[in-house]
């Protein structure tokens, strides 16, 4: 199936993944081939087959609602690329068009 560099660019946008034009051009035929070989899943399993999301399903896993130790603000910020006043510092989120 044909996957175009434009398709790749659109998907990369959805995934918030910056790709160069060259990367999009390289990935397009590769992704096409991969998807083509994975399309085989459409040959089997009709409407009567239920989906499996989890191999060993468990339901209603609860724990007691008790206070327990957690990371300190300092620990939580230990890997932050930027922080200020005990908080993560991030680029402007508001004010974009």
């Amino acid at each position: 199936m044909a996957v175009t560099p434009d398709d790749i660019a659109r998907l990369a946008g959805l995934a918030r993944l910056r790709l160069s034009e060259q990367e999009c051009a390289e990935l397009a035929p590769e992704i096409g081939v991969i998807l083509e070989s994975m399309r085989r899943v459409q040959e089997v399993a009709g409407d009567d087959v239920p989906l499996t999301t989890h191999a060993v399903p468990r339901t209603n896993v609860f724990r007691d609602d008790v206070v327990r130790p957690s990371l300190t603000p300092k620990e939580a910020l230990s890997g932050a690329p930027a922080s200020e006043d005990g908080r993560f510092r991030v680029p402007a989120i508001l004010g974009e068009d």
Partner: protein, 498 residues
């Protein structure tokens, strides 16, 4: 020659005061220093920290404390397990130098049991690959032939164990990342039942498939490690209440009397290298000699396992890797005050992820996108149901299923790295167990053209003990035949530059 002894023997000697943890740890640290430049099995080594832990274990033992059977034994940890005292990079630029603020449950259990973590082992980036060639820090080399891949993603752990740089190591298996490296390095690799070993603090790749497990040179060592790391963990909502006692006992088996073994018909014959098939056929004969009855079973949906796996896994991966956005931890690129958060996120991810990660993020995003989700992700989940049904039917007639672990022996660097689909085929035999969540292992069964071949053994959910029984019994029989461990036949490792 302390480094050739098994972990269980080392643990026994340390506990008995015949040697010390410091002495043993030093032996392995020295071997790492000697050979890691050749193999690149470790991304990080904590010599000082390891010796401190070893000395503390020695002091506790000297004070008369009773510790577990692996207390004082050195171990390598795959670099996707969070460790508070060593970096956790997942083989990616995205996490270069990152030191997590908490330990994974499995690592916490290692520490509690007195194991000595000597370092973090190399892996394909975020565990995506079958060769370690996607690691941002260079590939690991196979100790049997340094021009060949050690398998992946856990090639670092497998190579480290095979080269006696550590007696045991930790791996994680999403589609074969413990078993395939074990097969191509002549070591033992166990993928426990999904939920049998906690995933808390293991950097997630595909959450419904990921399962941590042991890498070792013997079935008993793997079992002892499994007993340390396994069991219920309230921090992992998918954790199961499975009993791990008795695994090491099972690994001491010498007979398989009464065991019903099924050969997976879809995973033999055509497409398998001649030498791989020959060793497999010999292993089947051996199982019969040991008292097992062997039949053939058909699991037709396994033909579609690869396709289902390579849709479900990238789908889950693309959403799991969304957490790497350059905001709270990891790489941040392009934050020069003029760019928006979204632009910085895209730039950080573009710079931080390697080619295979980008490929799979795109596939996953496609498989989940509006208009395609039913055809791809949905269909793959239906195939997952069919695979589980095939297993269920097969396990009505058999106690365990077997196949070769891989279709070929270790391939050469570069042989598959330009052809993603060929690389994905490395996981042909191993993916069904991840999709069905059952227990699965690889044990060494001999050589083909001088390179190791592995036997895959699969047991139903919760029956991990059967893996150890089969693995232990064939190991004892084969070692008697070979006059020692398979790894003794490996060529002598050369020091780089020597």
């Amino acid at each position: 020659m302390l480094h050739t002894l098994s972990a269980s023997e080392l643990g026994r000697m340390i506990a008995a005061g015949e040697t010390t943890s410091v002495e043993v740890t030093r032996v392995f640290l020295d071997r790492i220093q000697q050979y890691n430049d050749t193999l690149n099995a470790f991304l990080h080594v904590d010599r000082e920290g390891a010796l401190e832990v070893a000395a503390a274990v020695d002091a506790r033992l000297a004070a008369g404390e009773q510790l577990g059977p692996l207390a004082g034994v050195p171990i390598g940890v795959k670099d996707n397990f969070c460790t508070t005292d060593q970096p956790t990079t997942c083989g990616s630029r995205m996490l270069e130098g990152w030191v997590p603020p908490y330990d994974s449950t499995v690592v916490a259990r290692l520490r509690e049991a007195g194991l000595v973590i000597v370092g973090k082992t190399n892996m394909d980036e975020f565990a995506m690959g079958s060769s370690t060639e996607t690691s941002a820090f260079g590939p690991t080399r196979n100790p049997w032939d340094t021009d060949r891949i050690p398998g992946g993603s856990g090639g670092g752990s497998a190579a480290a164990v095979a080269a006696h740089l550590v007696p045991i190591a930790l791996g994680s298996d999403t589609g074969g990342s413990i078993r395939q490296p074990a097969a191509v390095t002549g070591t033992v690799g166990i993928k426990p039942t999904y939920g049998g070993v906690s995933r808390y603090g293991v950097v997630a790749m595909a959450s419904s498939l990921d399962q941590p497990g042991p890498c070792a040179r013997t079935a008993e060592d793997a079992a002892l490690l499994h007993q340390v790391i396994g069991g219920y963990d309230p921090m992992d909502a998918t954790s199961l209440h499975l009993d791990v006692d008795g695994l090491a006992e099972a690994a001491r088996a010498t007979s398989l009397e009464g065991l019903r073994v099924g050969i997976v018909e879809e995973f033999t014959g055509e497409g398998f290298e001649e030498g791989v098939q020959a060793r497999f056929d010999e292993a089947v004969a051996l199982l019969e000699e040991l008292g097992a009855t062997v039949t053939r079973v058909s699991c037709p949906a396994f033909h579609y396992s690869m396709a289902a796996y390579y849709l479900i896994q990238p789908a889950e991966l693309s959403s799991n890797l969304a957490r790497f956005d350059g905001m709270r931890y990891g790489l941040r690129s392009g934050d020069d005050g003029t760019r928006s958060a979204e632009e910085v996120m895209s730039a950080s991810r573009g710079d931080g992820f390697g080619k295979e990660a980008k490929r799979r993020i795109i596939i996953g995003t496609y498989a989940l996108s509006a208009g395609y989700a039913d055809q791809y992700y949905g269909q793959a989940q239906k195939v997952r149901t069919l695979i589980a049904r095939d297993f269920e039917a097969a396990f009505e007639q058999c106690d365990v299923l077997i196949s070769p672990t891989t279709t070929t022996v270790a391939f050469r660097f570069g042989e598959r790295s330009e052809d993603p689909v060929a690389m994905y085929m490395s996981d042909l035999c191993t993916t069904p167990s991840n999709l069905a969540g059952n227990a699965s292992a690889s044990f060494p069964i001999g050589l083909s053209e001088g390179l190791p071949v592995g036997l895959q053994v699969i047991a139903p959910v919760g029956e991990d003990v059967r893996l150890y029984r089969v693995g232990g019994a064939i190991e004892h029989a084969l070692e008697a035949r070979w006059g020692g461990a398979l790894l003794e036949q490996a060529p002598e490792l050369k020091q780089k530059g020597a």
